[in-house]
Symmetry: C2
Subunit: 316 residues, 2 copies
């Protein structure tokens, strides 16, 4: 990482750069869910983004920022899934190679999809250290540019464009809630939202089985996940070095939910909104349903982060 700050201007610049590459996803509402939570929720539908997740925003932005020389050698990353698909597609569209490290535990639907975009996949153990070490070796061998899933300023700026669009469409939101894994989406959301309106409250929602950001927020110091244990397979990683200071500065709170709460929220999104949202994407709604948010937060933006789930492995 050569850059270590991200500003609101970076997000505005990213939005301009990736506008021809990404979908401007719709904002949906659901009367039934509003009645249930007693607030107005505005769902930013990033599960309808290319590759089925917000990750395409950051990946396509990072790839677009590469020099001509860098593009020749391609890109490399480690990812539990959606960033892998996103980078694979972004690289394919620029006709450059992509080298993707995936944990052996990654959902088959995500592995198939990455392979379908023509990326070269290497499997490794599902630990952060194994991923990072294997990535280092591949970068040495190929000369590819490593695009970190979240601790990369261009990635953060790209992810922030989702909240930018959401607030353009619904300017009077009282709060925004998004899931947090490594914190790319959450930190980009913080910078975008507070760049537009410093009074918007930003909440991060996290699975109990990977609650490093919650513990970081409680202690004031960045904590890491041991062995994550949650169905929210997009949120297994620990909050990043670059993302954590942004979150610490901007978040109102970090709200945790357990797997049953995530499943119930996901079923609500499927059955009432008819939207296939993956467990990680249902974490924010689960947090709204299971925490007592302040009453004055009437209009809340909810980022539905992704929709990539193996339909053959539904547990209900």
């Amino acid at each position: 990482m050569t850059e270590n700050t991200v500003t609101f201007a970076d997000i505005q610049s990213a939005a301009k750069m990736i506008a021809p590459l990404v979908f401007r996803t719709p904002v949906m509402t659901c009367e039934t869910i509003n009645a249930l939570v007693g607030r107005e929720l505005f769902f930013k539908c990033e599960h309808l983004q290319k590759v089925g997740a917000f990750k395409y925003r950051g990946a396509s932005h990072a790839v677009a920022r590469l020099s001509a020389a860098q593009k020749k050698n391609g890109v490399c990353t480690h990812s539990s899934g959606n960033h892998a698909q996103a980078l694979a597609l972004a690289a394919k569209q620029q006709q450059m190679p992509a080298y993707i490290l995936m944990p052996e535990t990654a959902p088959r639907v995500k592995v198939d999809s990455v392979r379908g975009y023509g990326a070269e996949i290497t499997f490794c153990e599902p630990t952060q250290s194994a991923r990072e070490e294997t990535a280092r070796i591949i970068v040495e061998q190929t000369g590819a540019t490593f695009i970190h899933p979240f601790d990369n300023s261009h990635v953060i700026a790209g992810q922030g464009t989702a909240a930018l669009e959401l607030l353009e469409e619904i300017p009077d939101l009282d709060a925004i809630i998004c899931p947090v894994g490594g914190g790319g989406l959450a930190s980009g959301t913080c910078l975008a939202a507070h760049g537009i309106n410093p009074d918007v409250k930003i909440f991060a929602a996290e699975p109990e089985g990977a609650d490093d950001t919650f513990r970081s927020f409680q202690s004031g110091e960045r904590q890491t996940v041991g062995i994550p244990d949650t169905i929210a397979d997009g949120l297994l990683t620990s909050v990043g070095e670059l993302t954590w200071p942004i979150l610490k500065q901007h978040l109102s709170d970090v709200l945790t939910v357990d797997d049953d709460q995530i499943t119930s929220a996901m079923q609500l999104l499927w059955s009432r909104m008819k939207q296939v949202v993956e467990p990680s994407g249902a974490v924010p709604l689960a947090a709204i349903l299971n925490h007592d948010l302040p009453n004055d937060l009437k209009k809340i933006g909810v980022i539905l982060s992704g929709g990539n789930i193996d339909l053959n492995k539904l547990t209900w």
Copy 2:
């Protein structure tokens, strides 16, 4: 039934009348599915309609047309599900009673939903004769107006408004394909589309296990279903007396698909479009995937008719 003709003007009038009652549903596209079928498909998202199905269009129209005296005694119908929910909600919004007969085999999610709208449910055997007989008794006892799920001119006119909106948005469609059960949606689609452009080809898609419209179209005479056998639980009924002549006049063809083809199409809609569409709603895409439609049909409108499925009973 007191009226036995429906015209394009009736559909235009219905559209005006129900505009404040129904959602104007979006039209979605999917690059992956387009690449797969080699055509441009435009999905009219009636699974995002109120109650999760196009049926709300016809039901709210029929209810809106009742006299003040009729409204007092409420409405009655028999339905395998979505029409029941639609009529229950339409009645609730006009604060009138709704008496709903449902087959004992109706999915629990649909039964719960009807009950949630405050309707009074009576269960009966899953045969057309049992439903009709029980309905007759309830109408006698309550004075309610019977609103047939499809053989009702106001219902047909209401269902036609979906195709009207679709062609307003995508005027140069070569064809439209929709599912056919009793034929309310299909006949309304025929009248709406040919009222706008007589050159649009209209196809009806039907499950093999309830292929009465297919057999009717082959023989030229209205046929009925014996004991239906298909996962497409919204398409179990036989084509109607009022709807059949319209279909006979307007349809280019009736295309049948088996349950495996329906399931595959449904999975494609869930996994690639992230849309929860019920089996009946996936029948048109299954037909496109498994039949050789003429090559000159480049732009095809597909009506995704509903999204009400019991998530606890997925068979894959």
